[in-house]
């Protein structure tokens, strides 16, 4: 039989639209408007999952986002999602869901043995048992995680699209219940820009499930009118199915909108979810309250649910979850549920912990034939996969002891209500302070910190008329604060059939006596934390609330204790006989509900994850088989393999082409900064370690930059283009850093200096041509006189290259005769192709960064960031020649005379030659005096650069070695990861063309 628990009529579902879905492999039918939970209950499915630790049978506890039990694996394949709350999943055609944490099935679960063995699994069991010996924890952990898992993540790539949106408004209202709606109405009518957020598919909040009136008219119709009016306002934006996740400083709110999650078809145009980042001048919190469970023996069986949830299933979805129902309550409000169940044909009994029950309620129970047990408690429950029987006994409130006859009742559904907890999560996240209310027996908002307003049940007020007036008035006040002309005030009256007034709730604590052996009083359903665990934690000294939480795991998990926190704290207060305020509470942290990584990432995935920078010649590189490497955000050709060549073959060919004839490198990624202004020379004198005042116009100079600690931070060649005009180059990765560094000192230290820095990295394409034939080759394409006499080394000329206005620098990073041709970027590829075409007769060879590295290492030229690491001075690099002795001051100078930078045993930059003439040492290898079988052994330093040198025919390496410059020619050892030990000899850093003649030919 299908939908056997559905009432004949009623509810806010569309009975004309049948929806087919699958749960645990079995087919069911529901209606449009159902949640997975309501549809399962309609089909009399109560057992939906197994608990986290003891694998106990669990059903549906709530009807909203606070659900701890009914969490399922939703969907299949790449879209499968774990830990989804069945109470929030809107039913759609073809939905497939399955229980979690059970094997082989939810009905026959092997893990439920844990329940039988539970006396050996108290709180802290895993810590106590598996932490010793520490080395075995990783082994145990694998199996423990597997046994205590929640759902599983998809292994395939998520095919869905996620978006992010930034939003700014006057007022954000979290919660679309009656309070939120009225605040929105008042502020909207006054002209504020309002964002109204609600996590449900329908606005109206919990009142939609209850009987009430507003201004003496039918409440539900009234709500509809308000919603219609809000939708008609252009200044009000409404987000349904949107959960406010985090509330941060300066009224910054994040929210997750489920855009198409509830649809059976993938949208071509809409994202699956949208992540909102909202900044508003004021925030109104109107999130309402969560009903609090009662703690009694075996209060976790399927069929036991919150009274308000039962009411919602009945009123909103037309589902009667049981026929023989027991209401267990400590307040008046829950009686509405009992009366409604009675009205729909269920047989009712009520167990009330109080003795002074309102006489009108007593009378009504009598009239309706509802058996009422006052001053009583449920002391045990039975039923393996669903509750079927309970025992009730009188409880003495003062002594907290049970007495009298024990009555047995048959039942198939228990509705419980322990009062209401305001949903203070966001308020607390926003740093709002809470206080414990001894009348409501829960935490309520106390002190506001940010520019915020808290209204309705969320504020700990449960009087409808008060809430209507307060909410509307606060909407007007907010508008007034923001200088809007406010709408008229309205006097509101509201009436609930039975209200949850402050006087009618009483705290309930489980009785001291008659705790049935083997029964469990659950505090936290999701984490399987029982009252006994809380007792144990106190006994073992985990008395601070933060310790109790971590030791027992109460309040953790995907529900973050929405139903359990207050009961845990109340029990601690009871144990220590201290007010709850003194016990305190743990910190609420975002997110309010679990949220997907997809939404947090938004569009920043795949190629949009990080910007990619390409030179103007990039396409040519691609077309010519370049292998790329990432240098910062840049894509640089690594090498250009020809057919069947591997990296070694290609790099060897490229290196030899440069050394023997002509090579070309795309050096466009070098940072380039244009410096102008009358104080530029003075400024460079402070920034670089060497002197700049005597540099002639048209000349280039290599410079090192140090930070104030005296450590090398960047290097490059800077050229004087005019009296007050320089062209600075930096390392590829350091360009932005150097630019910021220059600006920092100009803006914060030397405000009187007139210097203007402009990044021109992307304005110039740089073609570096290098090799003995470079002059001959370039002369054929330019009107600049390249002769040795007229264009010496370290000079700069302007002229036409391939008829394009160009800047040519005679500098060299290979040691060969080289020219760096800078052309405006839009001509970059044109000139590159002209060069390739014209250079055929010289066997012009494009080369990549690997060849560049080999060639510079053969010459002992450093790469900042590879050979240096931020702890290296110019002197450590044997670059004393570039540190001015004459200049009074420059950045880093003072630090060169600090005791640490003057130590004689500092690591120095040296060359290394392996004695076997064939091993290319791994970069980063440690260098020791003598390799021992086991550490420790005396460390001397490490290898910074290491390559095979094709022109020399053997490997070369650069290294930092303690006092290395004084040990040239001495033997060291390098133990490798594979156990081999390589012998090497400390050498000079220049391996090729030591005299430096090549670049001067």
């Amino acid at each position: 039989m299908s939908n056997q628990n559905r009432t004949m009529y009623g509810g806010r579902i569309d009975r004309g639209k049948v929806i087919n879905f699958v749960f645990n492999g079995k087919k069911y039918k529901g209606f449009h408007g159902d949640t997975l939970a309501s549809a399962l209950l309609a089909n009399d499915v109560h057992l939906v999952g197994r608990s986290f630790k003891y694998h106990r049978a669990r059903g549906i506890l709530t009807a909203g986002s606070e659900e701890p039990n009914a969490i399922v694996q939703l969907g299949l394949g790449a879209r499968t999602e774990p830990n989804m709350r069945a109470t929030e999943i809107e039913l759609y055609e073809g939905l497939e869901a399955a229980s979690q944490n059970c094997w082989p099935s939810v009905n026959y679960d092997i893990g439920s043995l844990n329940n039988v063995l539970s006396s050996i699994f108290p709180a802290g069991f895993y810590y106590k048992t598996f932490k010793w010996p520490p080395s075995l924890w990783l082994f145990y952990e694998h199996f423990i995680r597997k046994a205590a898992g929640l759902g599983h993540s998809p292994t395939a790539k998520n095919p869905d699209r996620y978006e992010q949106k930034f939003y700014y408004c006057d007022l954000t209202i979290v919660g679309g219940g009656i309070s939120g709606l009225l605040s929105a109405l008042a502020a909207g009518r006054s002209g504020c820009s309002v964002l109204l957020i609600d996590e449900n598919p329908e606005l109206g909040g919990y009142l939609l499930d209850y009987n009430f009136s507003i201004n003496e008219k039918d409440g539900i119709k009234y709500i509809k009118n308000i919603v219609d009016e809000l939708y008609s306002m252009d200044n009000v934006r409404i987000l349904k199915r949107t959960t406010a996740m985090g509330y941060y400083d300066y009224n910054y709110l994040t929210a997750l909108e489920k855009v198409t999650n509830h649809c059976d078809q993938l949208s071509k145009t809409l994202p699956r979810e949208r992540y909102w980042r909202v900044r508003s001048k004021k925030i109104v919190l109107a999130q309402g309250a969560f009903e609090r469970p009662l703690v009694f023996a075996d209060n976790d069986r399927p069929g036991i649910m919150m009274a308000s949830a039962g009411k919602k299933y009945l009123s909103r979805y037309g589902v009667l979850p049981g026929k023989s129902v027991v209401l267990f309550t400590n307040n008046d409000h829950a009686y509405q549920t009992a009366f409604e169940f009675n009205d729909k044909g269920a047989k009712l009994s009520v167990v009330d912990t109080r003795d002074n029950i309102d006489s009108r309620i007593q009378k009504k129970c009598e009239d309706l034939g509802i058996k009422l047990y006052s001053s009583s408690s449920i002391i045990s429950t039975n039923g393996n996969k669903k509750v079927n029987q309970i025992e009730v006994q009188k409880v003495d409130r003062k002594q907290n002891e049970l007495s009298g006859e024990c009555i047995t009742l048959d039942t198939d559904c228990i509705l419980m209500s322990g009062g209401w907890n305001p949903a203070v999560q966001l308020f607390s996240q926003s740093r709002g302070k809470l206080r414990y209310d001894n009348v409501l027996n829960t935490f309520v908002p106390d002190k506001l910190i940010q520019d915020q307003i808290i209204i309705g049940c969320n504020n700990g007020c449960f009087d409808l008329s008060k809430n209507l007036n307060h909410s509307y008035q606060e909407g007007l006040n907010a508008a007034k604060d923001l200088n809007y002309e406010i709408a008229d005030s309205i006097n509101w009256t509201g009436e609930e059939e039975i209200s949850f007034t402050e006087s009618s709730v009483e705290p309930y604590m489980l009785g001291k006596k008659k705790v049935t052996k083997g029964s469990k009083h659950f505090i936290d359903f999701q984490n399987d934390v029982t009252a006994a665990d809380i007792f144990l934690a106190q006994r073992e000294g985990y008395i601070s609330v933060e310790h109790t939480k971590r030791y027992t795991t109460t309040g953790m998990g995907t529900d973050q204790g929405k139903t359990s926190n207050v009961n845990a704290l109340a029990l601690m207060s009871h144990i220590h006989d201290k007010p709850v305020d003194e016990i305190g509470h743990t910190t609420f942290r975002p997110p309010f509900s679990p949220q997907t990584f997809g939404a947090i990432a938004g569009r920043s995935v795949d190629h949009l994850f990080d910007p990619e920078r390409r030179t103007s010649i990039h396409k040519w590189h691609e077309e010519n088989n370049a292998v790329f490497e990432d240098v910062g955000q840049w894509k640089r050709p690594y090498y250009f393999p020809k057919k069947k060549e591997n990296i070694h073959d290609a790099v060897k060919r490229e290196c030899l082409a440069v050394r023997n004839s002509l090579g070309m490198l795309d050096a466009s990624t070098l940072g380039k900064i244009d410096l102008r202004g009358p104080d530029t020379t003075k400024f460079l004198d402070m920034i670089y370690t060497n002197a700049w005042s005597k540099l002639e116009i048209g000349s280039c100079r290599y410079g090192l930059m140090c930070n104030e600690h005296g450590m090398i931070f960047d290097d490059g060649v800077t050229t004087r283009l005019g009296e007050d005009h320089y062209h600075m180059t930096t390392t590829t990765g350091g360009a932005a850093r150097v630019m910021s560094w220059l600006e920092e000192f100009l803006q914060t230290e030397w405000l009187d200096m007139e210097v203007f820095c402009t990044s021109v990295t992307e304005q110039w394409t740089v073609l570096s041509i290098s090799g003995p034939n470079s002059r001959k080759f370039l002369q054929e394409l330019t009107d600049i006189d390249l002769s040795k006499e007229n264009f010496p080394f370290m000079k700069f000329r302007e002229g036409k290259v391939c008829d394009i206005d160009s800047r040519v620098f005679r500098i060299s990073f290979t040691g060969e005769l080289s020219f760096e041709v800078n052309v405006p970027s839009r001509y970059g590829r044109f000139v590159w192709e002209q060069f390739m075409q014209h250079g055929k007769k010289y066997n012009i060879t494009p080369y990549g960064t690997e060849t560049m590295h080999v060639l510079r290492a053969e010459k002992g030229f450093i790469i900042v960031g590879q050979d240096t690491d931020g702890s290296v001075t110019p002197m450590d690099m044997n670059m004393d020649w570039i540190v001015s002795k004459k200049k009074q001051d420059f950045l880093g100078k003072r630090s060169f005379t600090r005791p640490d930078t003057m130590r004689s045993d500092r690591k120095k930059f040296v060359g290394l030659l392996v004695n076997d003439k064939k091993t290319v040492l791994p970069e980063g290898s440690h260098i020791v005096e003598k390799a021992l079988k086991q550490p420790p052994m005396k460390m001397l330093g490490h290898v910074t650069s290491s390559y095979y040198s094709p022109i020399l025919g053997h490997p070369i390496a650069l290294a930092m070695v303690k006092n290395g410059s004084n040990h040239l020619g001495e033997k060291v050892e390098i133990p490798l990861m594979n156990g081999k030990v390589i012998e090497a000899t400390i050498a000079d850093t220049v391996f090729y063309d030591k005299e430096g003649n090549k670049n001067n030919e």
């Binding site: 400083d249 001051d889 600090r898």
Partner: protein, 94 residues
Amino acid sequence: MFVINCPYCGERDQTEFSCHGEAHIARPDNPAEVSDEEWGEYLFFRNNPKGIHFERWTHDHGCRRWFNVMRDTVSDKIIKTYKMGDQKPGVTDV
């Protein structure tokens, strides 16, 4: 996440800015003449107060200007932002 009032651009989200630590640490006029200890003070020692803190920020994804921020590290409230070179505000000025 803060809203920061850039003295040049106005109020913007914190994501547009970066913080560069304590403000009003002057570079010694003549570093050669200061002792190792004084130089070390300038390089390494910073205040970490519970309460009012002065710090340097840049509007990286905006005007790229440096400026100073006076912030209460307890409430994270930004009390004042002001240009480089402006007088350091006293607690009584605000």
